[in-house]
Amino acid sequence: MFDISPTEWTAILLSLRVATVATLIATPLGIGIAWLLARRDFWGKALVDALIYLPLVLPPVVTGYLLLLTFGKRGMVGGWLSDHLGIVFAFRWTGAALACGVMSFPLLVRPIRLSIEAVDRKLEQAAATLGAAPWKVFLTVTLPLALPGVLAGMVLGFAKAIGEFGATITFVSNIPGETQTISSAIYSLIQTPDGDVAALRLVLVSIFIATAALVASELFARRATRRLHGN
């Protein structure tokens, strides 16, 4: 039962890699957008807000198809990227990371935005009177105080990314060793005769990863809160 096969290992490691890369790239972007939404008023803000939350409410297969149209080999962005920068998303693990990043983005941004909104602007003003330029205020006051929210967003995003299925399989298909993540491996195994035991093994693995992520986030959040309030 606990003898994990090489194919299964490949899927597990690929899932971890895809989710990690997606989270690490989405986090700075998410912090920037969360800050814009929390602290700035600009033309089209409502539209940006809606666009970010779209993947949460659209059917994942629709998001996946839109990604295929945009970032596929003949897509507007995908074609340019592959011609000029040699970056290919279609049917590659990088595409899986992109799909997971897009799908998890709303979950990642929301806690970060809420925690930035919760930072007292009076502290930011105080920092400015002490000579801190706006970007320094952000790095030395806003971001450290919003850290628990950033960590919460990263964990939520990571958990969503590791479980993402619909958009990923639509965009980059289900190729063992390249785009077959735990979710799509389980999906394949369930459809294979005698695949039940292997599927169950992967189910246990994904439960383990999800639980570990939650425990880690709890520990981070507790440590961050303690650091902030100095007890």
């Binding site: 007292d120 009076k122 502290l123 003003q125 105080a126 920092a127 400015a128 009177t129 002490l130 000579g131 801190a132 330029a133 706006p134 320094k136 205020v137 030395t140 006051v141 450290p144 105080l145 650091r227 902030l228 309030h229 100095g230 007890n231």
Partner: protein, 226 residues
Amino acid sequence: MLRVDIAKKLGDFTLEASFTSEGRVTGLFGASGAGKSSLINIIAGLLRPDRGIVTLDGETLDDTAASVHIPPYRRRIGYVFQDARLFPHLDVQQNLDYGRRMNRLAEDPAQYKRVVGLLDIGALLRRRPGQLSGGERQRVAFGRALLSKPRLLLLDEPLGALDEGRKLEILPYLVRLRDEAGIPMVYVSHDAAELRQLATQIVMLKGGHITAFGGVKVLSVSSEQH
């Protein structure tokens, strides 16, 4: 020398103030709602005037006619708020050091020692703001503002959030600050007694307008009104 000649509309309230101050401690006196905080925020650069000018030692900080507005972080004007506003994620020492780091000033152990001694906060350096009493927090806030080496120090009712006992505890530090730190101050208060002890010059505000200007004696003329 601080020169202010501004107008600012805030909702139904209009602030119009013009004064020049050369005193060591300029007391901004008035009841709550008189426009004291708005005026001091304009001097700090946190609020932009609708029209007018603010200059400090000949340097233009605001000049609406020429579209000049120096942002607060380039003004080198220290600000002590009523609610201290210490950074909760930094300990006292890091709070004190913040302004020096942000302004990229060289370390100045002599000044640091002097300020810490003056305010009697040497025992608190390793603590977080959450572990300080209200009076201690305010003393650290004075130190933090002083150590950023400002050209002018703004104090917005720094004793306002403290009870009588704490006020009496802090007042002597402020007198020492005035006599030893050598930085001109603008001190906002609605407490005439406080200003009599500290200020060398008074600007009296009422309903957004300056009603009196002069030595500390202007306080006794109109203190009955407040």
